[in-house]
Point group: C2
Chain length 207, copies 2
């Protein structure tokens, strides 16, 4: 399989990369030492990219060309009550979760029967005080994908929305660390890949 | 009742203003002749404002001070397939539907027992090819409000999300006009007000 992992240096992205060792791997992430170290470890190609920049995304997709599996492991977390919420937090959430996904879906080149995997969220877990911006970004992403799925079906592409319980990654660092009982990243990656590679591919995968 | 209508010169906003004649009305909208004409017609106070600008929203809320009923009739529509979608369209949708609502909720001053009304969307109606950006913005708004409701409850405020069928307003102009069977704005306004003023106030009102 030709696999593109976006956000490859994140906690979930790097666990996905390690679980897919042996496949033809393209690892996209912000330029940093961890990207080169990971690429060497798993035998993938490091592709430094700023995913909020459309021209960079377009260039990335030209370089990678067709993919069988796309994994969008991009996002950030943040907390603020709505009575104090800064515009930067709200816009940052939307850029990171939704805009990157939209740019990727616009420019990615799929091989026949490809799967594109994105990470949504259980509404009941995220629509809790302090998380309005995060909840809005995840809901926007899921709605965008549900609509996109209907358009991309004619290209023979399968969009998969994965809802995970909390995973113990750096996403939680701004919030003081992951909640108790958070899944280990390698365990989460294993469950994600088992689920999304099923035949027929699921539309929503709740883990 | 002391009522603030945001987007007062829009098709739905102006119908709401006309239906609320006799109350103490504050009419906020982009500065244009229609705002002054409407204010004179319904006996309200015209408040020109750019709702995507936080300082203007803050100043507006200081001027209006406490409200019993807030109506957020703000939004725009647009269509593009995800393979061609421009960043401007996506960002415009999110600014108009979500950011304006977030800024309003941050700065509005509520009187005890106040109701704040926003317009969501039936997922099945909007998650259709060409409407990914619109669907994402409405889903983001609803998720934001569902979270905000839990925070604002302690202020004694009731957030109401209204889902309307299509209403025959200028929102549809960029799409070639409203769909067949769209509700007349005055009829939509009547149903909205009957619904949101019920005791106890509904959380979601599907019309």
């Amino acid at each position: 399989m030709r696999v593109l992992i976006l956000g490859a240096t994140g906690g979930l992205g790097s666990a996905l990369a390690r679980s897919l060792k042996g496949h033809e791997l393209f690892l996209a992430a912000r330029s940093q030492g961890a990207l080169w170290a990971l690429a060497e470890e798993v035998g993938g190609k490091p592709l430094p990219v700023q995913l909020e920049d459309e021209l960079e995304v377009q260039a990335l997709m030209e370089e990678v060309d067709g993919v069988d599996l796309l994994l969008h492991a991009v996002g950030r977390a943040g907390r603020a009550p709505v009575r104090e919420l800064g515009r930067d937090l709200l816009e940052g959430m939307l850029l990171s979760h939704l805009l990157t996904a939209a740019l990727v879906l616009k420019h990615v080149r799929f091989r026949p029967g490809a799967r594109a995997v994105f990470f949504g969220a259980y509404p009941a877990y995220v629509r809790v005080p302090g998380f309005a911006a995060y909840a809005a970004a995840k809901a926007a992403l899921e709605a965008y994908l549900e609509t996109a799925r209907k358009e991309l079906r004619r290209e023979g592409v399968h969009l998969v929305v994965v809802r995970l319980p909390a995973v113990a990654t750096g996403l939680w660092a701004p919030l003081g660390g992951p909640p108790k009982g958070a899944l280990a990243p390698m365990e989460a990656a294993k469950r994600v890949l088992e689920g999304v590679l099923r035949e027929p591919p699921p539309e929503t995968l709740e883990l």
